[in-house]
Symmetry: C2
Subunit: 348 residues, 2 copies
């Protein structure tokens, strides 16, 4: 069997290749810091309608590619969509983020139904198809989903929360019951990502944004194992589609995370020291990250210096240049342009 080698920079890096200069994209690169996004947003109805309208969601996905020439586009969507697609009522209130009718017991799981998933998410798959058609030849398309633990926190808390207290109490106090929610989510998320791949996603990223909230003794059960299960399901059908795992805030659990989950690449938050990451994470494959989003807000010499440090320390191995967390609305456009220029111009 011969296998064609990927030619897009992102896919080459994710497959473990060390490149002359790393590919660059930024988490939440489509969003409120862009005037063209804010303009389009006023035309769309609710945030949920925006996510479910392929024409608009595709346009939003493409906006940052046109403006900055990133090496990858990432599907515009939001982590709790999968809960909505399972039948949990989801709403977005202005400035408040997602609001859901909480699921807090095994009994509540009866309200959820895997059979609704694909019909409800069909517009998202259509968005992926449209973006895949529209992207320049050298730009890769990344699909994405939240990891089971992180999606569960939204479902159980009923939205974002500072401490995920109710979710933790369920997970710690009734692990068998909570496992049923996590298993359902693992299946749903894997199916969701498979459909994104079928529709044209060339890589996928699994966001475990609240991995850092897990007590140490529960990290394996609620972060590593569900992510590993999703990776296995994806790899069984699409062994060559790379998976990026982002266990934000995982601290020392970042060591060996690619091996323990089967992910091809690991996305580093900004608290991870670069030398440590080179030694404990990059030795297993590609790493992604990890400029602090606030450094991008500041720009100037601080940004130039921190960007160069990442390139110098992690750029000698497989690297995807990115932030350590999503871009924030206060980010000046010219800083993003300069960052992309610096990464693209790096010659090692």
């Amino acid at each position: 069997m011969t296998k064609s080698k990927p030619s897009k920079l992102l896919l080459r890096a994710l497959s473990g290749e060390t490149l002359t200069r790393p590919p660059v994209w930024l988490m939440r690169q489509a969003g409120r810091y862009l005037p063209e996004y804010r303009e389009l947003r006023t035309r769309a109805g609710s945030f949920l309608e925006l996510c479910y309208t392929p024409e608009l969601a595709a346009e939003v996905t493409l906006q940052p590619i046109r403006r900055f020439g990133f090496d990858a586009a990432i599907l515009f969507a939001d982590l709790p969509l999968v809960a909505d697609a399972l039948g949990q009522k989801l709403d977005y209130r202005d400035g408040e983020g997602p609001v859901l009718e909480p699921v807090r017991s095994v009994g509540d799981l009866a309200r959820l139904d895997l059979a609704r998933l694909h019909p409800r998410l069909a517009p998202v798959y259509e968005t992926v198809r449209r973006v895949a058609q529209a992207l320049p030849n050298d730009v890769a398309l990344i699909g994405f989903a939240g990891a089971p633990w992180t999606v569960a926190t939204y479902m159980v808390e009923g939205g974002g929360s500072p401490d995920h207290a109710i979710t933790k109490r369920w997970a710690l106090g009734d692990p068998e019951g909570f496992q049923r929610l996590i298993d359902l989510l693992s299946d749903a998320i894997a199916q969701y990502l498979l459909k994104q791949i079928e529709a044209g996603a060339e890589a996928v990223q699994v966001f475990d944004s609240w991995a850092g909230a897990l007590p140490a003794s529960d990290f394996r059960r609620w972060c590593i194992e569900p992510v590993a299960r999703i990776v296995r399901t994806l790899k069984a059908q699409y062994p060559d589609v790379p998976v990026i795992a982002f266990p934000r805030g995982a601290g020392m659990h970042y060591a060996g995370f690619a091996r323990s989950t089967g992910a091809d690449a690991v996305s580093l938050d900004s608290a991870v020291p670069l030398e440590w990451a080179r030694e404990h994470v990059q030795r297993d494959g590609c790493v992604q990250g990890n400029l602090d989003p606030q450094v991008l807000v500041i720009g100037g010499e601080a940004m130039r210096r921190e960007t160069d440090r990442i390139l110098q320390i992690l750029g000698r191995g497989p690297l995807v240049f990115n932030l350590g967390h999503g871009i924030v609305p206060a980010t000046p456009l010219e800083h993003v342009a300069r960052l992309v220029e610096q990464v693209k111009g790096w010659t090692g």
Copy 2:
């Protein structure tokens, strides 16, 4: 020179001794989960008045000792008091936490004055004296303060914040200016702790509650170095008073933290794996922690099992049993009683 050996369990553990059973106290053990606290709170005026009224603050400090027989009392106060004492307007609004008039530039530092510190904090020192007088012979008294980085986040943001964005931008964009705030705070906090020791505190804990928000490249400058500076100042006058450092969320930076700061003991958050902590932190001395506060809310078998794991893995070396973060208001009293009973009854 002979030096008398400490006899209180807490002080013996902090000095590096492995005990038959570890001492136990809980962060935020004085507070809203206690009916006697809530009752007293209705009699006091504002939260700030409570902190500054020695009779009441001492009573609040003693309440959990009477009820549960902890091995240590910790001064009842709050992290932003030192900002208030430097002259920054501080207010507590119900359910909102501290609100401060933000300090956001070197120019704003002119509003702060180290000379006001001790007059304003005199009632706190009086609280320490009263508690020291009133405590049973075998219970140690811990003084405390926030670390410079954490206090700075409150001062710059104007209160609590999800991402400390403004503070990070100042620190990253104008490190020389921000250093002046950190230096001022390092001095103020060291002076504050010295006075607590003079008044009767037998150990002190420095809370860097937001250490985990620091980008990796800034961790040394804004967490390790200011804490090390405070420890040096304290040790110059009171070499035998142990210092507990709590860099919450520090992840892999926990490795060697006692050595790099000079602290006697390191308090672990709940995300730190126990085996990892034994290898990378406890080899340098005493560790403290790290039961997840939500496990204390759940109680039952989960609490018994997690408590036992901490005792089994960290109890063979110097350990102070504690939570990984402050006790939460939803905590049932009987769970606390059972936890203390389990730790005190542990026979290895």
